[in-house]
């Protein structure tokens, strides 16, 4: 009874995953972070969570979790979301979720191949969001200096890739180990 994985399905469990995942993303985004020497950037553990949920529930869940979590966190801290970076977060989560199609974490399989696929997708996602989307939106909307936003973008790219890589991979590996593998029962 192999169910074919649809990338863009919007099931009830996707919605609930967004709700609960968004809340966890928000919690980590606000409290579990390490400031970096470059101002206005910090090492965010939350992107590891976005990677984890993206790989388990697909791009819609990943994108919405990062978008909603980041927007609420901004709203609570600054009174209003900083849309350029919130949108970039959404893009990151959405692309993380593409790895969902190629992974079988839910069936307990997350070997070397899975790790490589997840990390390739994750790095591509961070590159697209933080080296392209965020700086370009900052320049278009706020006319921020080009050199500044690309420096911040590059730092965010490196740190978020490490976060999604180390924390996301670790969580997925732990989760896969708790799942029952397909065909692990033998008739004697």
């Amino acid at each position: 009874m192999e169910e074919k994985k649809k990338l863009f399905q919007f099931k009830t469990s996707t919605i609930v995953a967004v709700g609960v995942g968004g809340a966890i993303f928000w919690l980590l985004f606000m409290f579990v972070k390490v400031p970096s020497p470059i101002p206005e950037t910090s090492f965010q553990t939350a992107y590891g969570i976005a990677g984890f949920f993206g790989a388990l529930f697909g791009p819609i869940a990943g994108g919405l979790i990062a978008f909603i979590g980041h927007a609420i966190s901004d709203a609570v801290q600054y009174g209003s979301p900083w849309w350029s970076w919130v949108i970039a977060s959404g893009v990151t989560g959405f692309i993380y979720g593409i790895s969902f199609k190629f992974l079988k974490v839910g069936e307990g399989k997350f070997g070397v191949k899975g790790i490589l696929i997840y990390n390739a997708v994750q790095i591509a996602a961070n590159a697209a969001a933080w080296i392209l989307v965020a700086p370009i939106l900052d320049i278009v909307v706020y006319a921020e200096p080009v050199s500044l936003v690309f420096t911040q973008g590059a730092i965010a790219f490196v740190m978020n890739s490490i976060s999604a890589g180390v924390i996301g991979t670790g969580l997925l590996a732990i989760y896969a180990a708790t799942r029952t593998k397909e065909g692990s029962l033998n008739k004697e």
């Binding site: 919605i15 995953a17 967004v18 919690l27 209003s80 006319a143």
Partner: protein
């Protein structure tokens, strides 16, 4: 780590009386008006308007003190590093170079740079009261219906409502797990090194995440059993009907939005206001 996310309290002001949907539309219109324009006169006018609205909605300073501090720190760092990275951004945008001082090397002080950075700071600052008003005067249960009202799919709107619903739960779970781990000897206090505290915080995430995954299954089964998502549309319990005041509010903000666009198109002939040429 206790934080009240939305200190919404019910008051009798004209702004509290507006429906969530019309407040959300007003918020978006004004935010986009500010984001598009780079004319300090337009931005200051909108800022005055939004501070006036802040007064009308009777929001106390104690409610927003923390946000104000964060915003001021953000604006100051942004102001300083913008200058450090690009002291010539202003002259580049406006095409002229009126110097009134010189610090050292390439760091000159120009009126263009001052206008550019001043405008940018105001641009960031002026959306803050708008967001605060929207957040503190809207019943959180109304968010979802407001989002659905601007044609966001109801499933996505419901996801936002669920997130808001689970913020306090997740916070409580995190604290519970943190306490029980500390009882087992995990040091989370200031005595532990930052590196260890960070690692220990990560160790809390794992049980939090796994209890959450079980919960996702329970909740989505419960929703499925009640027929969630069967239809293309849904109704909302916390939706308010549109009244005359809602149309007036949308009318006012829409005209501000149009005015901001027309200043850029007809007066400045660009997004930037250029008094130098």
């Amino acid at each position: 780590m206790k934080i009240k996310v939305f200190s919404y309290n019910r008051l009798n002001t004209p702004i509290h009386e507006l429906s969530g949907l019309s407040k959300f539309i007003c918020f978006l219109l004004l935010t986009f008006a500010v984001m598009f324009s780079y004319d300090i006169r337009v931005i200051l006018a909108i800022m005055v308007f939004s501070f006036w609205a802040l007064r009308v909605s009777k929001i106390k300073y104690s409610q927003i003190r923390l946000m104000v501090i964060y915003v001021v720190i953000f604006l100051l760092t942004n102001f300083v590093i913008s200058y450090l990275f690009a002291p010539e951004q202003g002259p580049m945008i406006y095409g002229t170079h009126h110097e009134f001082g010189h610090i050292f090397g390439r760091y000159t002080l120009t009126w263009e740079q001052l206008l550019y950075q001043g405008t940018k700071t105001m641009k960031y600052a002026s959306v803050v009261p708008l967001g605060i008003i929207f957040l503190l005067t809207t019943n959180p249960s109304e968010f979802a219906s407001a989002l659905n009202g601007v044609k966001v799919h109801y499933k996505a709107a419901f996801a936002v409502a669920l997130t808001l619903r689970y913020l306090p739960d997740i916070q409580r779970d995190y604290n519970d797990i943190s306490m029980s781990q500390q009882a087992r000897g995990l040091d989370m206090s200031k005595k532990a090194k930052l590196r260890h505290r960070f690692k220990n915080a990560l160790l809390i995430i794992i049980p939090l995440l796994f209890s959450t995954l079980d919960r996702i299954e329970n909740i989505s089964n419960a929703m499925d059993l009640r027929g969630f998502g069967k239809r293309k549309r849904r109704t909302w319990y916390a939706k308010r009907p549109f009244r005359r005041a809602d149309w007036v509010a949308i009318g006012i903000t829409a005209s501000i939005f149009v005015a901001s666009l027309s200043v850029s198109i007809f007066v400045n002939h660009s997004r930037f206001f250029n008094p130098f040429t």
